[in-house]
Symmetry: C2
Subunit: 218 residues, 2 copies
DNA sequence: CGCGTAGTGTAGCCTACATTACACAAAATT
DNA sequence: AATTTTGTGTAATGTAGGCTACACTACGCG
C-alpha cells in the first residue's frame, strides 16, 4: 500500500494536517472533474488521497463541504492573467487578441471543462454554490474586460458604446467552444474550429466592428 | 409483445397505451428539467403522470430508457424554424436577424436550459446519449446555417470564406447567454444583455464584418 | 517511559432509490 | 357472464453510498 515507512519528513513539515487536507482536496477535485460530483463516492476519494474517512469528515463537514472547500481553494487565474496583460499595455487590437488567447486557453483545459460540469450539476441543488463560483470566476474577468473596453472608448481608441454588451459578445465568441465541449463532450469538436482560428477571427470581427485601434490595414 | 393492432379502436382514442406513455414522458421531462435527472425518482414521476411504476417499467425498460425515450420523442424544432425562414427567403441581413431571433428565442426557454443541464450531466456517464442529442439538435441547425452562409458567399451577397467558422461564431454570440444561464442559473443575468439587444448587436457585427447584403446604411 | 491527541481502518447504521414481484381491478375480447 | 389481457397499488428486494462509532495506532511532549 502506501508505505509511509519511517516518516523521515519531520523538518519541512508544512503542518501535517494541512498536507492531508490538500491531498484530499486534490484527490476530490480530480475525481469530481473526471467523473462528476454525484458519481464519486467519498470512499473513493479517500482511497486516492490516503488518510481515512473519519479524517475527511473531521476536516470538511460533509460531501458538500468538501466541494465548497475545493472552490474556496481553487485559484481562478483568468482575471489575474488579464490584469497582467492590461498592465503590460500595448495597442488595443493586440491586447484584444491577448485577451482572446487567455480566455480560450483557460477554457480549453479539461479541468475547466470538468469544473463547468460540476457547477452546472450543483446549480439546481444549491444556487448559493453557483453564486460563489460565479462571483469568483466569471464576474472578475468580465469586469476587467469591460473596464478595458470603456477606457478605449473614452480615449477614442475604439468605439464601444456599450462595453458590457461587447464583453458578453466577446465571451460568446471565445468561450462557447468550451461550453459546447462541456455539454456534448469531445464529439462536439467535429463542428468546432481550432483555437488559433477562433482567436484570429474573433479579434478580427471585433477590431473591425468596434473600430479598435491597431488593426492591420484591411 | 405489443399485440397486433387488428382491433379497431372505438373512437378517436389515440390508443390507451400511447396516452399513458405520453403522460409519463411529459411528467418525466418536466421533472428532469426542473430538478435534474439524478434528483428525480421514478416514483415521483409516476405520482405526477398517473399510472403505475410497473407500467413505467413495461413501457420503458428502466430509468435510462425513459430518458432516451424523452429525447427520441422530443421535437427539436430549431432547424425546422430555420428551414421555414430560409424558404421564406429575403434579404440576407434580414434573414440573419431572423436566425438570431430563432436561436435566442429557442435557447431562452427554461425547458431548453434544463435540457442542457440534463445532457451535460449524462455526457460523462453515457457519451452515446450525448451524441444522439448532438446529432438531433445541434448539428442540423449548424448545417442549415452553414449552407445558407455558403450560398450567400457563392452568390456574392456576402463574403464568408469559411462558413463553418462563421456559424460557430454566430452560435457563440447568440447561444452563450443560455449556456451561462444553464451553468450559473438566473443570477447570470446580472451580467447579460436582454435578448433584443443581443439580436441587434450580433447581426450588426456579422453584417458589417462579413459584408452581408442588406445592412442598413452605416 | 506513559499519557493524550490526532489519525487510521473498518464495520455497520440508515436512507434513498432502482428494480421486481404479486395480488387485485378494470377493460377488452369472446 | 366468463375469460383473457392489461393496468394499478403496494409491498418486497437489493444495493449504493453518506455518515457515524469505535477500537486501534503513531507520535509528540512531559
Amino acid at each position: 500500500m502506501r508505505g509511509s515507512t519511517t516518516s523521515s519528513e519531520k523538518k519541512d513539515e508544512p503542518d501535517r494536517r494541512e498536507r492531508r487536507r490538500l491531498a484530499m482536496l486534490n484527490a476530490a477535485r480530480e475525481l469530481f472533474v473526471e467523473r462528476g460530483y454525484d458519481a464519486v463516492s467519498l470512499s473513493e476519494i479517500v482511497k486516492r488521497s490516503g488518510g481515512s474517512l473519519a479524517t475527511l469528515y473531521e476536516l470538511f463537514e460533509n460531501k458538500a463541504g468538501l466541494l465548497g472547500a475545493i472552490v474556496a481553494n481553487k485559484r481562478f487565474g483568468t482575471h489575474e492573467q488579464i490584469d497582467a496583460l492590461i498592465a503590460r499595455g500595448g495597442v488595443p487590437a493586440e491586447m484584444l487578441k491577448g485577451v482572446a488567447e487567455i480566455l480560450i486557453e483557460n477554457f480549453s483545459e479539461p479541468e475547466t471543462v470538468g469544473m463547468i460540469r460540476v457547477v452546472m450539476g450543483e446549480t439546481l441543488r444549491d444556487p448559493g454554490f453557483a453564486e460563489a463560483i460565479f462571483k469568483a470566476s466569471h464576474v472578475p474577468s468580465v469586469e476587467r474586460i469591460a473596464e478595458l473596453f470603456a477606457d478605449w472608448n473614452a480615449s477614442g481608441r475604439a468605439v464601444i458604446p456599450d462595453p458590457m454588451l461587447a464583453v458578453h459578445l466577446f465571451f460568446g465568441l471565445t468561450v462557447h467552444r468550451a461550453q459546447n465541449r462541456a455539454i456534448f463532450g469531445e464529439l462536439a469538436d467535429a463542428t468546432q474550429p481550432p483555437p488559433e482560428r477562433l482567436v484570429a477571427e474573433a479579434t478580427a470581427l471585433f477590431t473591425s466592428f468596434y473600430k479598435i485601434e491597431g488593426a492591420e490595414t484591411t
